[in-house]
């Protein structure tokens, strides 16, 4: 019996593995040397304080793109303190104790006094004491005017622009916060100097002015955007407790009450060097990068690893839906639950996404846009609002004139049923695999694109090489795999539907 088992084990281990049992597409063979060359052009190192660096050499032009990826986003925020991650991102452009101020000692006193006054203003409001509030507000405004005299406005951004930097910006998402720009290749040390200083010694000045800016941003993205409201409501409906249900921009009430201390605490917890990944792509010498990184970022003292967010979302057992009536032509949204990117089936969700919406040969384009003409356009978000943790797989459509969102829902239902019940054709699967490989290839001639991609993979999966391993994994996916995942993904009881409809003509606005 044992002998038989051993033999079976041996046979199994010697059996042809999927990789060479199926002939790899010709395309993969042509592209592979370029991906290998890329791998060879990458250098990586970690500083003693835990900060990770990846350097990709590309000498096509004397330019360099930089990315700092902070492994923190809205998902890490506490209840009642939404919007802090994004607020911090804005404030990270305000300079340091040396950059952006004309007199830091005096400024620091004024800022402290303003914070204390703000706490008292909030307390007076809470107590309904209008008289005190008005008095405190007047004092506050005076201090704000005083504080403004110490500010060398937007100095940080100006230094970069003056140096010939382009693409200076940052983004905050549910999972991550990213800071990036590009510089001419002779200014590598400038990036080292500025970025290390900004993350070691940030000063969150112009805190209250920036609050107004962010409130304007929220108005623009949500209050005055029907689809913005749809997405916010969708996440609140599809998720009961998951931190992903809270908007990245934050709720108005939380933003209003946010204090500088809130931002400082968040920064202290989540911006330790071990939580940052830096990527440098372009016309550089990796040894010079390493030396400079040690010199500049070596000063950054390590901090404890921050705690992960608590995700205890109960399984959805019944379909959910909502309708918003807003001044807009109709939209249809349908979402399901999928696991985060560390799940072994992760790439299969991407394949399903591609089969459904990529290009004019995609299932939903052909059925909804071309054949029945019920939708003007269709699309998806594979991982709304993020993909580190259990998340949402979203499909959406815009109705064509004379059609209703419900019609999109019906047709979508038919297509998803097809995907559950019939294996996809070899042609379709082959197409998606070829496109995945070609798509990566096409990103290789963009420094900033590669900086972004390498940072994301390193920070989220622990190894930038997974960027390539994912391609191999994609190659091995079978039609049976796709069907299996489609069946677990597109379960009617796990569906959330959102419909955006126009008000009836002549009705008053809500």
């Amino acid at each position: 019996m044992l002998a038989l088992l051993v033999m079976i084990c041996l046979l199994v281990s010697l059996a042809p593995r999927p990789a060479w049992a199926r002939q790899a597409p010709l395309v993969a063979q042509t592209i592979q040397p370029y991906l290998d060359r890329l791998t060879e052009a990458v250098t990586e190192f970690t500083l003693d304080n835990g900060m990770k660096f990846i350097v990709l050499e590309r000498h096509q032009a004397p330019v360099v793109s930089f990315m700092i990826h902070a492994n923190v986003g809205a998902v890490n925020e506490a209840e009642g303190k939404t919007g802090v991650a994004h607020y911090l991102e804005h404030l990270a452009f305000k300079g340091t104790s040396r950059i952006g101020t004309t007199n830091y000692r005096a400024e620091q006193q004024t800022l402290k006094a303003m914070d204390q006054l703000f706490d008292r203003i909030l307390a007076a409001e809470a107590a309904g004491d209008q008289a005190t509030k008005v008095k405190l507000q007047a004092e506050f405004d005076q201090l704000a005017a005083q504080a403004a005299t110490y500010v060398d406005q937007n100095k940080y951004g100006q230094i970069i622009e003056q140096a010939g930097g382009v693409g200076l910006n940052a983004t905050t998402g549910a999972d991550e916060t990213r800071y990036f720009y590009s510089l001419p290749a002779n200014k590598l040390e400038l990036w080292m100097s500025l970025e290390s200083e900004r993350f070691i010694d940030p000063v969150f000045r112009e805190f209250f002015e920036e609050k107004n800016v962010i409130l304007e941003e929220r108005r623009m993205r949500v209050d005055n955007s029907p689809i913005g409201q749809m997405v916010e409501t969708f996440l609140e409906t599809a998720l009961e407790r998951h931190p992903y249900r809270r908007p990245v921009i934050g709720y108005q009430a939380d933003l209003y009450a946010a204090t500088r201390q809130d931002v400082q605490d968040f920064y202290d917890t989540y911006y330790g060097p071990g939580n940052l990944t830096a990527v440098v792509v372009g016309d550089v010498d990796p040894e010079v990068v390493r030396s400079l990184a040690n010199t500049y970022f070596g000063r950054y003292r390590s901090r404890p690893t921050p705690p992960p967010p608590v995700i205890d979302e109960p399984v959805q057992t019944e379909p959910r839906q909502f309708t918003l009536t807003l001044p807009s032509q109709p939209w249809y949204l349908e979402g399901y639950h999928r696991p985060g990117l560390s799940h072994p089936d992760h790439v299969i969700y991407g394949i399903i996404d591609s089969l459904l919406v990529d290009g004019r040969t995609s299932r939903l384009y052909k059925a909804l846009v071309e054949k029945t003409q019920v939708a003007l356009d269709i699309g998806s978000v594979n991982g709304l609002p993020g993909d580190k943790y259990d998340t949402i797989f979203l499909l959406y459509g815009l109705t064509a004139p004379g059609h209703s969102p419900g019609e999109i829902g019906t047709l979508l239902g038919e297509e998803l049923k097809r995907l559950r019940e019939q294996p996809v054709s070899a042609t379709e699967l082959d197409r998606v695999k070829t496109q995945a490989r070609a798509s990566l290839l096409r990103r290789l001639n963009s420094n900033s694109g590669m900086a972004s991609l390498l940072a994301e993979y390193q920070a989220k999966t622990g190894d930038w090489r997974n960027l390539f391993r994912d391609l191999d994994t994609i190659d091995q996916v079978t039609a049976a795999d796709v069907q299996r995942v489609a069946q677990s993904l597109f379960q009617p009881n796990q569906r959330t539907v959102g419909q955006l409809i126009s008000p009836l003509p002549g009705s008053t606005q809500p």
Partner: protein
């Protein structure tokens, strides 16, 4: 089964060689072992800008061709630029050019049904896209190098023998009707569209909009006629970039484009439409659901070949950008806006715009507009400081290298210059203009080109919450409310 091309090994060596040359070329100043503040740093020079080798020639049928090799990746791409544009379509058929542009691709070819064309491309992770915009049309393709000939032949078919399948034209018209229905869903879109209508005029080829009636007047015949008049070898510049050998590519071009002939009469592309500013004053579009106002303000602008273009680019930097006057004042200091801008925005061959704007909450609409007006006013009355001039010049000149990041970018610029009749070295002339700009020149440019008395101010928002109301902006003229009905 293709062996790794021999040139790949040469390429690796070439890259190594290049890396070493750069390393020797700019000795980093005494390597920093102590961290330094940004103002203590010194930087070595950048290498000189190098334009990649390219070849330009012309076929007997008039087709102009540019070829630029790029062996970094196994990709090939190309763009054909056509001398046409929506500014030439008949007024009763606004939308014809745009429709024709899309229909060229969506309608298949005379030998390949639309679905078959889509599959042939997408199965190979290739693409062909076509469009016609205001001043030009284009057809572009992208392919993996092994598919060069297959995709290039499809590209030639799409350009020379489009099928204009009737059901695809119907689909496109439906989609366009849908886009008319949706064009007021986004206040930003409303603002920029209606602003251009006010400045150029609702009947101008640069301001007019597609309507249900003009769309209805377009049929397959009209599309075919516009296509025939527009898409012809003697009116086309073809540019190719990628992993090919020039002589091999030339053979393919000869094979697939050599016999191409136009039919019928070419589109009349001159004289270009005349332009003058249509309106001035304060205008409002009521959207009671909004809590912010979306503002566009400005007037008619100019062209890139205006002698003051360099000085005006300096002005753009001073106003916009991270430490520009608007960002500092309107966004950071007053917290009035998330986005605010005022840009001299020229075009190649017709007057562009000077346009400012942004979003602000309803109650601060007038304050926002006054703040932008104030900045414009200051620029017309006082020279910018020497420091601002230096910063603006630095920003443009130090980032100049980013105009040459890829062969593709350089080739597109060469073709653009030829298409619009600009000198091939125009970008270097611009660089020199900026380098030699003075504060006096910038002041003169502001005074001659920024015209507060010619302003159109458009506010898309909720008038009930705009306090003080818009009338305070122009006490001598009534505020005109525009109707958006389709």
């Amino acid at each position: 089964m293709k062996r790794l091309p021999a040139r790949f090994e040469l390429l690796t060596l070439a890259l190594l060689g290049l890396a070493m040359a750069l390393w020797l070329g700019w000795q980093a100043p005494a390597r920093a072992l102590t961290p330094r503040s940004y103002d203590q740093l010194e930087f070595g020079p950048l290498p000189e800008i190098r334009i990649p080798d390219f070849e330009r020639y012309q076929l007997a049928n008039g087709l102009v061709v540019y070829l630029m090799e790029d062996h970094e990746l196994p990709l090939v791409s190309g763009t054909a630029t056509f001398r046409t544009g929506s500014r030439f379509e008949p007024a009763e058929q606004v939308g014809l050019a745009s429709l024709t542009g899309e229909a060229m691709r969506l309608g298949g070819t005379t030998t390949l049904k639309p679905e078959a064309l889509n599959e042939a491309l997408e199965q190979r992770a290739a693409s062909i896209e076509t469009r016609i915009d205001t001043t030009a049309g284009s057809a572009s393709f992208e392919a993996l190098v092994d598919d060069t000939e297959v995709v290039f032949s499809l590209f030639a078919d799409v350009i020379q023998r489009p099928g204009f399948a009737p059901d695809q034209i119907d689909l496109l018209k439906r989609q366009y009707r849908g886009s008319i229905a949706r064009r007021n869903d986004n206040p930003d879109e409303i603002a920029s569209r209606e602003f251009e209508k006010l400045v150029y005029g609702a009947d101008s080829p640069y301001g007019r909009t597609m309507e249900y009636a003009t769309l209805e007047a377009i049929d397959r015949q009209a599309i075919q006629a516009f296509y025939q008049a527009s898409i012809r070898p003697e009116q086309t510049i073809l540019g190719l970039v990628g992993d090919f050998q020039t002589d091999q590519m030339k053979a393919l071009i000869d094979q697939y484009f050599g016999a191409w002939r136009g039919h019928g009469n070419p589109l009349a592309v001159s004289p270009l439409p005349t332009v003058q500013q249509a309106k001035t004053g304060v205008f409002a579009i009521e959207q009671p659901q909004l809590t912010q106002s979306y503002v566009q303000m400005g007037h008619l602008g100019g062209q890139l070949n205006d002698p003051a273009y360099g000085a005006l680019s300096v002005l753009n930097e001073v106003l916009n950008g991270f430490s520009g006057r608007l960002f500092n004042q309107v966004r950071s200091r007053q917290g009035l806006a998330y986005s605010v801008y005022a840009v001299w925005s020229p075009r190649h061959d017709y007057p562009g715009l000077f346009v400012g704007g942004g979003e602000t909450r309803s109650a601060t609409t007038v304050a926002f507009i006054r703040a932008v007006e104030s900045e414009i006013d200051q620029l017309r009355h006082a020279q910018i400081s020497a420091a601002e001039l230096a910063r603006a010049k630095d920003a443009v000149l130090n980032s100049f290298v980013f105009n040459f990041q890829s062969p593709n970018q350089t080739l597109a610029r060469l073709i653009r210059n030829e298409y619009y009749g600009y000198p091939a070295d125009f970008i270097f002339q611009f660089q020199e203009q900026v380098r030699t700009a003075t504060t006096a020149e910038v002041l003169a440019a502001a005074q001659s080109h920024l015209k507060p008395d010619q302003m159109v101010i458009l506010v898309v928002g909720n008038p009930a919450d705009i306090e003080p109301n818009l009338a305070t902006l122009a006490p001598d003229q009534p505020v005109i409310t525009l109707d958006l009905s389709t």
